[in-house]
Point group: C2
C-alpha cells in the first residue's frame, strides 16, 4: 500500500440540510488537517475525542498532534473495540467523560473510529447538555461512506440493534482515505459492499466504474477517494431528501439490508458474518429475487454476483462458514425487521442495476419459497 | 375546591415552531377529552402512558377511560414519584417498556405527571427508536405552565441536574386545570411562583391581575384557567423565538433561577426547599439586587415580596427552615451554574415589574456582598 501523501486534493461533498448543512471532506492524509478544519469552523472550541483502543493505538497520535497544532484543547475517551460498546453502560461512561471535562454546549465531540464509535459518540453528543456538536472522523470504509454521514446515531439494547438513539447531524465529516490502509482486507471489503450498494441503487455508471476500477480502490490509489466521494454524494442526496426517514426515499439505502439483517441475526451477529458481508449476500439475493419476479434481467443479477465475487465478498448463503441458518429463523427475523402491513412485506427490489425501488407488496410466502430454494443450493 | 366541570371552555394556545408547532389545551375536566384529542391528531396511534405511582393512584383511571373510549390501545409504565426517577436507570426502564410494547416510531408516549415525569418520559420518547411522538399531560401547576411546554427533556447525573437530555417538542399539551385540585397547597404555591415569573419578566398587567385574582387561581375558579393560559402564552412566545436557547431570549425564563438554583444546591435539593419556592426567593433577590444597583424602583422590589408573601411563598433566605446556607457554598453554586465570562456573571435582572433583561456584566464580588447582607438579615 502507498504511504501518506499530502492532502493536496481534498474533495468536499456538501450535505444540504438547511441550517444543519455540513461538508464531507475526503482525502489522503486529511488527519493532519483535522485540527485546522475544526478550528476554522469552530473558533476557540474545546474537544473530546471518542475512539476505541484499536484506533487509538494506530492513529490517535496523528489526530492529537493535529488538534494541538490548531490550539484545540482536548480530552480522550477510548472505549473497547466492537459492537459491545454500543451499550447504555458505555454511553453513560462517554457522557460522563464529556461532563467531567466540563465541555459546554458549544464544544465538540470528535467521533474517531468506525461505525460503532460514530454511532456511540454521535449519540453521546446528541444528549450531553441536550446537544453538543459532533465531528465524525471515520476510520473504516463502512463508516466513511455510510455511518458517518446522515446523522443516525444510537446504541443497542437486549431487544435489538439501534433501538435507542437520535438523529443528530454532524457539523463536519473528515474522511482520511489513507487511514484505511491499516484496515484488514476483510474489513475493507465489507465496507466496499456499501460502496457497491450506491451504484446498484441509483447509479449504473458508478457500478460500471467500480467493475473497472475496484483494484485501485482496494490498493489505495486515487480511485479510492473517487469512490468514497461518489458514495458520499449518493448518501448526501438521499439524506437531504429524507433526513428523518419519513418519506421513504431513505429506505432505498436498505437495499440488501432486510435479507442481510436476517442473516446476521440468524448467525447471532458473530464474526462468521460481518455486516458488509451480510449486505453483499443480501444485495445478491435482492437482485436474484427481483429477477425471479421478472422485474430485472437475470444478466443484471449475474453481474452483481460477479463483481461482489471478484472483490472477494460472499454472495450466497452457502458462503457463510459454519452451519446454515434455518428458514424459520430467517423468516422470523424478516418479519420482526419490517412492519408487516396487511400481510405484505416491504423490500427494496430492483428493475436493473441502478434502478432500485421500494416494494411494499411482497408476500411472505414468496420470500419463504425463494429462501428455501437458496438454502438448498 | 369545586368539582369537575365539563370541558366547555377549552383555551387553545399555539406554540409556533414551524413544522414542530403544537397546541396547549387548557380547561377543567380536559382529562376526559384526552383520548379524542390525541385520536384526532394521530389516527390509529398506539400509546404508552408514562406516569408516577402517586398520579396513577389519583388520576390514571380517568385517563385510561378516555383513551379506551377513543379506541387508543395503550400500556402503562408507572415510576416512583420524585426527582430520583430522573435517572439513567429509570430512563432505561421506561425505554424498555416502550420497546417491549412494540411501539413504533409513529406511536406516542403520553407523559402524565409533573415535571419529573414530563422530563423523563419526554426524553424516553426522544431516544426510543430515534424519536417517538410525545403528548404532555401535566398534573402539576409547575409542569402545566413551564416543564410541559418548550421541549426541554432530560435526566440528572451525579454531576448535576438536567445534564443529559434532548430538545424534543411535544405534539400536544393537555392541561386539565381540575387535576390540580388534588395538589398539596405547598406544591400548588411552588408552581404559582413560575406563573408570577411570567408577569415579572414581561407583563406588568398580568402581574397586577395576579395581585388581584390569585385567590381564584388557588381556589380553582375560572381565574385558574386564565392564569395558566397567560403563562402558557408567555412561555410559547419565548420558545418560538429561541427554541434551543441559542439567542438569549429563552434565558429570560431564568429570572430568579440563578439565585434559586444556588439555594437549592446549598440545601442539597431537599424537601426543605421546593424548586418553585427557591425561584420565589430568587425572584425577590433578583429584584432587590436590581433595586440595589439602581436599576429598578425599590417600590417594585417591595411589590414582588408583598405578592409572593401574600400567597404564602418564601421571599428571604431566612425563610428556609433549618441552618442557613453558607456564602461560600452559594457563590460556588452560582459560579458553577453560569459560565463565568471574563470574570463577570450573567444574571436576569429587572428595570421594573415586567421589564426583565439579561445582564452579562455582573461582578461576582458585588453578588457576594449582596448575599452576605441577605444572610445576616
Amino acid at each position: 500500500m502507498p504511504g501518506p501523501r499530502p492532502a493536496a486534493g481534498i474533495v468536499r461533498v456538501a450535505v444540504d440540510l438547511g441550517p444543519r448543512s455540513y461538508e464531507v471532506l475526503i482525502g489522503r492524509g486529511l488527519l493532519a488537517a483535522t485540527g485546522q478544519e475544526i478550528a476554522r469552523l469552530m473558533p476557540n472550541v474545546r474537544a473530546a475525542v471518542v475512539t476505541d483502543t484499536t484506533v487509538a493505538a494506530l492513529h490517535l497520535a496523528a489526530l492529537a498532534q493535529s488538534l494541538a497544532a490548531a490550539g484545540i484543547d482536548h480530552v480522550v475517551e477510548a472505549v473497547p473495540p466492537g459492537e459491545g460498546s454500543k451499550s447504555l453502560a458505555t454511553l453513560a461512561t462517554v457522557v460522563d467523560a464529556l461532563l467531567a471535562a466540563r465541555l459546554e454546549r458549544g464544544d465538540v465531540v470528535i467521533a474517531f473510529g468506525g461505525g460503532v464509535v460514530g454511532d456511540l459518540a454521535g449519540f453521546a453528543a446528541a444528549v450531553a447538555r441536550r446537544g453538543m456538536r459532533v465531528v465524525q472522523v471515520p476510520t473504516t470504509l463502512l463508516a466513511a461512506v455510510d455511518a458517518a454521514i446522515g446523522g443516525k446515531t444510537g446504541i443497542n439494547t437486549e431487544r435489538g440493534k439501534n433501538l435507542v438513539g437520535a438523529f443528530h447531524q454532524p457539523s463536519l465529516v473528515i474522511a482520511d482515505s489513507g487511514v484505511l490502509d491499516t484496515l484488514p482486507r476483510r474489513t475493507f471489503a465489507a465496507g466496499y459492499a456499501e460502496v457497491v450498494k450506491y451504484g446498484l441503487i441509483g447509479n449504473a455508471d458508478f457500478f460500471a466504474w467500480l467493475e473497472a476500477n475496484w483494484r485501485g480502490v482496494f490498493g489505495g490509489g486515487s480511485e479510492r477517494e473517487t469512490a468514497i466521494a461518489e458514495a458520499a454524494r449518493a448518501k448526501a442526496r438521499v439524506v437531504s431528501e429524507d433526513e428523518r426517514e419519513e418519506k421513504g426515499t431513505r429506505a432505498l439505502l436498505n437495499l440488501g439490508h432486510t435479507f442481510g439483517h436476517a442473516l446476521e441475526a440468524a448467525t447471532d451477529f458473530s464474526d462468521r458474518l460481518h455486516h458488509g458481508e451480510a449486505v453483499a449476500i443480501g444485495m445478491a439475493l435482492a437482485f436474484a429475487f427481483s429477477a425471479g419476479r421478472g422485474l430485472c434481467a437475470p444478466a443484471d443479477a449475474a453481474r452483481v454476483v460477479a463483481h461482489l465475487t471478484a472483490v472477494g465478498l460472499p454472495t450466497r448463503i452457502a458462503d457463510i462458514p459454519g452451519p446454515p441458518p434455518t428458514l424459520t429463523r430467517l423468516m422470523a427475523a424478516i418479519a420482526q425487521d419490517k412492519k408487516v402491513a396487511r400481510g405484505a412485506l416491504t423490500f427494496i427490489l430492483a428493475r436493473g442495476i441502478g434502478r432500485a425501488f421500494v416494494a411494499r407488496d411482497v408476500p411472505p410466502d414468496e420470500v419463504a419459497a425463494f429462501l428455501e430454494a437458496r438454502l438448498s443450493e
